[in-house]
């Protein structure tokens, strides 16, 4: 009886080892078959997968010598985490097209990205495609460029036209004073229970660093004309613009024009008319068109600015860029595919398929794109705004910087325990300590 068990155990182990060896061989075969092809990871939303597949198909048909294999970035809590895991495991693709600009500096300093400006023809192509401001923005602290500025989703003021018409505003508010006046008129207790149930807007109250990309940061860029938060090892946001933004948002919370309760668990508060505005990007268009109630009218405009503000109104562009990892054996070939993917014709396809804005100069005024904007008028404000957007500053500790600002934001803006001046000064002091 005992021997039967032991024999069974050894038989089981032998079968297990055989399966493991066969699986290893199979895996190795798979790797070998794709050895010469470039591996390209795109974002994993359906529109971008559609676009990437079309690009890869067209490329592979046009140039059989450089074959590209497309794969959406594997599912995970966030694509940033997946990329980090791939970097650690040295399983990065050759090309990745959904790199958040704020992550690039840390990867560049860790030497996991190819400096693209060392590839022949890169700089010429980039100077033709982008303006000098964009090129300066994506240039790393060591003077190299590790990313191709590709797409943006500018954060703008999405507003409910019906509500603003009802409160007597022909145009949406574009200054802080107008915004506060509109907020007072919009604030409402609809069911008469003594509690406000309609607000001008909503900003996420959780202290998560990236939430500041949808309130403080675009407002700061709008107020400061595209100013920086940090430059190298120098803090730049300890200024009147940041203080003004904090004061504006603090007033909105103090007067209960913005709710402190999280609204994210409800049905869409904007489409339900619970909030009249939202700081959002072009992704809202597809969502609103699908779910808006009958007669619901909405539009977009630039972020509100301080009353005395003059000049162009900037905002955060939420840029996602293309990089080549150092695991790529032939960066020059990878660059040729990228260059194909961001040619003018393909930028138009990108617009049509994904409704995201390609980051190229003069997009709206270019005849080539005119038809698209005539057919998609909701995208026009974003195309115009694209001329005045900013990404993030180059810093390896960007998340910590935004976290520090978030902490002070919560204390000052949401709970009013600090004055705007003190909160910004405290944030600046804390950021100074962590800057390399």
């Amino acid at each position: 009886m005992r021997n039967t068990h032991i024999n069974f155990l050894y038989r089981f182990l032998r079968v297990f080892l055989l399966i493991a060896v066969l699986a290893g061989i199979q895996c190795d075969e798979n790797n070998r078959s794709g050895r010469d092809a470039l591996l390209y990871w795109s974002a994993n939303n359906p529109d971008e997968i559609h676009f990437a597949r079309e690009m890869v198909k067209n490329w592979n048909e046009s140039d059989p010598k450089i074959q590209v294999v497309h794969q959406p970035v594997p599912e995970g809590r966030s694509s940033e985490e997946i990329i980090l895991a791939a970097v650690v495991g040295k399983t990065t693709p050759d090309i990745y097209s959904n790199m958040w600009q704020g992550d690039v500096e840390a990867y560049a300093q860790a030497n996991v990205l190819i400096p693209l400006d060392t590839i022949t023809g890169f700089l010429n192509f980039m100077t033709a495609r982008c303006d000098s401001e964009t090129i300066a923005e994506v240039t790393s602290l060591d003077g190299h460029i590790y990313q191709v500025p590709w797409k943006i989703n500018p954060i703008m003021l999405l507003y409910n036209e019906n509500i603003f018409e009802n409160i007597g505003f022909q145009d949406p508010p574009d200054t802080y004073s107008d915004f506060l006046e509109a907020a007072a008129r919009i604030q409402k207790d609809s069911d008469g229970d003594g509690y406000i149930d309609r607000w001008i807007g909503y900003c996420e109250v959780l202290v998560v660093w990236y939430q500041r990309f949808f309130d403080f940061y675009p407002l700061y860029l709008a107020a400061s004309g595209g100013g920086s938060l940090v430059k190298g090892s120098e803090v730049k946001f300890n200024n009147e613009y940041a203080v003004e933004v904090f004061r504006f948002l603090k007033t909105l919370y103090e007067k209960r024009y913005l709710p402190r309760e999280r609204l994210s668990a409800r049905s869409d508060a904007f489409l339900a008319g619970v909030i009249a505005t939202r700081f959002a990007g072009p992704w809202e268009i597809a969502h609103a068109e699908k779910f808006k109630p009958e007669g619901f009218k909405y539009s977009f405009q630039s972020m509100p600015v301080p009353d005395e503000q003059e000049g162009p109104v900037y905002t955060y562009g939420d840029p996602k860029n293309i990089v080549i990892f150092n695991t790529c054996k032939d960066p020059a070939r990878a660059w040729r595919f990228i260059r194909f993917m961001i040619e003018k014709e393909n930028d138009l396809k990108f617009l049509e398929i994904t409704s995201q804005i390609p980051r190229r100069r003069n997009l709206f005024h270019d005849e080539f794109f005119r038809n698209f904007f005539q057919q998609n008028p909701k995208m026009i404000p974003f195309a115009l705004q694209a001329e005045h957007v900013k990404g993030t500053d180059q810093s390896p500790v960007l998340k910590e910087i935004f976290d520090i600002i978030s902490q002070e934001y919560e204390a000052c803006v949401i709970y009013g325990t600090k004055s705007p001046e003190t909160a910004i000064a405290d944030a600046a002091r804390a950021v100074e300590l962590i800057l390399p």
Binding site: I6, A110, V207
Partner: protein, 289 residues
């Protein structure tokens, strides 16, 4: 062939645990110890920085705040957990109708995912739309900012955690209660003892080992507070629900300060060890008395 290796069989049988122990326990502990003296963001090479992480920890106001918050949570959660669990265990130990149903019902939240429970309670605690506030308003009371008032957020989380875990401790107390010899109660009845006297002089001393176990388990569970603040409040408002584990997680997996996170984890483990040792000593001394 098989007979030749028969003496190796026990080693094969314990191998899964040995592998698990080295891969998931021994190696991470040793690696964390090693990391404490290094700066490492996962993607760049490690840099030896000596005791810098400890120096940073001593000056880290937020870490001490997170320890304080965790202790506040424990002070509310542990006694509440014990009292509520003992109360229901005592009721469910009586011959009541639908006893089996209630025992199962109280245990149900234990097996439901923490994330699901947290999201449900977030709906209950909502300021304008939450069920609790709607009930308060319906009887003419003002709304309460359960999760948006800094002084209320942690107690609210403690109540939710108690609701989630109480079923487990009810089961433990039931086992303890059923191990108290019934003769003691019969003797007490003959002596004319009332319900409270029987509870304080027979039941409580009789279930002392269970109380110790529940105390230690709920304390350890309380120290690992993470999911609830992570999902409901993100550590806010004003860092009032930032638990130690959440802070360590943020340092490790938000900012990739792996060396510093390891140092925080090490210090936190020592704090847990000290608290558990103190608790054990106190209970044992009380039992001796």
């Amino acid at each position: 062939m098989a007979r030749k290796y028969v003496h190796l069989t026990p080693y094969f049988l314990v191998m899964p645990y040995i592998v698990h122990f080295f891969v998931f326990i021994a190696f991470p502990v040793l690696f964390s110890f090693f990391l404490m003296f290094h700066k490492w963001n996962i993607i760049s090479p490690m840099e030896f920085i000596g005791l810098h992480n400890f120096y940073r920890l001593i000056n880290d106001r937020l870490f001490f705040r997170s320890i304080f918050n965790t202790l506040i949570f424990l002070v509310i959660h542990v006694p509440l957990q014990i009292v509520v669990a003992l109360f229901f265990a005592e009721i469910l130990n009586q011959k009541i109708r639908l006893r089996g149903f209630f025992r199962a019902a109280f245990f149900l939240p234990v097996i439901v995912s923490g994330v699901v429970v947290t999201m449900l309670w977030e709906q209950l605690y909502g300021f304008d739309t939450g069920l609790l506030n709607r009930m308060l308003v319906s009887v003419g009371l003002p709304k309460v900012g359960w999760l948006i008032r800094p002084e209320l957020a942690m107690p609210s989380i403690a109540i939710m955690a108690t609701w989630k875990n109480v079923g487990l401790y009810i089961v433990l107390f039931l086992v303890g209660l059923q191990s108290v010899p019934p003769q003691y109660y019969e003797a007490a009845d003959l002596e004319g003892a009332n319900r409270w006297q029987k509870f304080f002089y027979i039941t409580l001393p009789g279930i002392n080992p269970t109380v110790l176990m529940v105390l230690i388990l709920s304390t350890i569970g309380g120290f690992s507070l993470f999911i609830e603040p992570y999902i409901m409040t993100g550590g806010g408002p004003l860092n009032s629900t930032l638990s130690a584990v959440l802070y360590i997680y943020k340092q490790g997996f938000f900012y990739y300060h792996m060396g510093y996170a390891a140092t925080l984890g090490f210090c936190f483990a020592i704090i847990i060890l000290l608290v558990i040792a103190l608790q054990k000593r106190f209970i044992e001394r009380e039992s001796g008395n």
